[in-house]
Symmetry: C2
Subunit: 354 residues, 2 copies
């Protein structure tokens, strides 16, 4: 196919396959279930690679993502989010459950009571979210039993507990510390569940930065997302080498204003995510010293760092977005390149926020 106009998101399919295989092998050797989070790519073709490599099912963030993947034959779906279920969403969940194994997250007695009123007669299972230190959502681990008890009394089956150790997105020793808190929280949640007579079938955790430190003696299921594609955050955290990053934004040098390089990729394709530890608004794959020092909607201003000739006007470079999950959600199509053969993969679940 003809190369699309820049900027566009390009996948190195050889690298993607290797990343998918690597995580699958890691899970297999540790005897844990792998349930990758597909919010990272929202792409049926990548989900199929993951399931083909042995994933037990997929994790999604929204009912809409679940519907998209279910519509393409994915039949084991965990919505890892504390849903507040209303009647229209209850109907959508029941429709999903008619053709797939479905679990949803809850993180409050009220949320579970609400879900039970509307879904109590269904086969939908519940995973109780516990906070392992990120302090985003989730009950305290010792409260998991109280939530589970509500579920049991209303008819919904509790599958187990889950957490997201999102505070693993930190440089240095933060990842190991987050992983230790993750296993402690899930172990405590399991005890709390057993206290009310619920034997957890699944204790689910895992994030790409913490995966090497995850206590696989406690965690029975891992839900990493970013590992398959990689991004500048993983690069800068030291979790992934640039040589393993599988997604880039191919961009054109449109200006040399001020003696710098200005690219046609901006926040409307790279995303505006900038973590506290990020050194800029994205990286250039082939210029490791370069930093994107200014980002507008359609401009990335690059400081190349050191004594480097400016890439000429009209030339193209590969930008690594800071956060791949938000970059992918900005395009309709990913261009998967394997030794020069390019396939257009739809971002099927793009924009499915609800």
């Amino acid at each position: 196919m003809v190369q699309p106009a820049t900027p566009f998101l390009r996948i190195d399919l050889t690298r993607l396959r290797a990343n998918v295989r690597g995580m699958a092998d890691h899970a297999t050797s540790a005897r844990v279930a792998l349930r990758p989070h597909v919010k990272t790519h929202k792409c049926i073709e990548i989900g199929r690679l993951q399931v083909g490599a042995g994933a037990v099912g997929i994790t999604v963030a929204t009912i809409g993502e679940a519907e998209t993947f279910a519509g393409h034959g994915f039949d084991d779906l965990f919505i890892a989010y504390p849903l507040w279920v209303r009647r229209p969403s209850a109907r959508r969940l029941e429709d999903l459950a008619a053709g797939a194994r479905v679990a949803i997250g809850v993180d409050s007695i009220e949320g579970l009571a609400q879900a039970s009123r509307l879904l109590g007669a269904s086969d939908i299972e519940v995973m109780i979210e516990v906070d392992s230190g990120q302090h985003r959502s989730g009950v305290r681990p010792e409260e998991a039993g109280a939530v589970a008890d509500t579920a049991r009394r209303t008819g919904l089956k509790v599958r187990g507990a889950f957490t997201f150790p999102g505070h693993s997105y930190a440089p240095g020793a933060g990842r190991a510390a987050a992983a230790a808190q993750e296993s402690a929280a899930l172990a405590r949640a399991a005890t709390s569940l057993r206290e009310v007579g619920v034997e957890p079938e699944v204790l689910s955790g895992g994030s790409t930065p913490s995966i090497a430190d995850t206590d696989l003696g406690v965690v029975t299921e891992i839900r990493p997302g970013v590992y398959c594609l990689g991004d500048a955050q993983q690069w800068e955290l030291g979790v992934m080498e640039p040589a393993h990053i599988a997604l880039t934004c191919r961009s054109t040098v449109v200006s040399h204003a001020g003696g710098r390089v200005v690219l046609d990729a901006g926040s409307k394709i790279l995303g505006a995510d900038r973590a506290p530890y990020s050194t800029g608004h994205g990286r250039l794959l082939d210029f490791p010293d370069a930093r994107i020092v200014m980002l507008a909607e359609h401009h990335a201003v690059v400081d190349l760092g050191g004594d480097v000739d400016l890439p000429p006007l009209g030339s193209q470079v590969e930008v690594v977005p800071n956060h791949v999950c938000t970059a992918v959600n900005l395009v309709d199509t990913l261009y998967a390149d394997e030794a020069g053969a390019v396939r257009a993969w739809p971002v099927a679940a793009r924009g499915r926020n609800s």
Copy 2:
């Protein structure tokens, strides 16, 4: 129509109409042309309101945006971006010019020479971008003549010069200073153009924060974008009162984890933009002391500030995104509400990055 599931982007149509009218009146009274930047909304219906109120045409950032609007009858299009024109994009520009008046930006002799090779026989006009202090793109004002001279020798007509005083996005005295630099730069560019025998027909500037300070004795055309909808940046800069903000993200309280409010709106609908002066990741329209202290893809964690009762689980609040231009680009549909009558407006140019 039935209210969509949260999160969704809602427009207060009464406020939008007032904002559109207010800027049109400002331009009329100052006798400058208004050419609003439609990258803010990417929406045909809003563009029609703007042109209906007297805008001379529209500004876009990409050829794709121009194509979308041209396809709905917009016939005066300025692509305010230093395009690097290749053969496929030259064909697209020629197609546009067959049905509309089209101008493109350039900010280098090389870029103009490249455009001239491919577009020299067309009616497409050129606007020379000058840097007025933002240091993003644009030549120095005194260099405008040299670029224009290249155009004249190759057949492309130079319409004038433009700048974006983006450094007006600053608290305090920054806006007036940016506006002063804007008019100085455009005046200097005009002199430079006249030195090579080019009389500028248009000197184009303007940004929403600086518009009240724009020197309308120099600037002949203004290109504000955000003014029609507003966002938390304008609120926090003191440019717009919350009572004039026309776009919000309706969101549901899904969790009270940690005694805080967690909403179902995250960076995949609000955008991750956070300017240095922003006090958080977005604001709540009806809770002026509240701040979004943590933003994930589908979670906004809110600190309500002060002694306020938590809005109950399942209740809905209106979030004001930090930057409306990137929020709009994350959805397919805007829900325009006028006294309870809701219309679904497509974000027709969403994702048109090239």
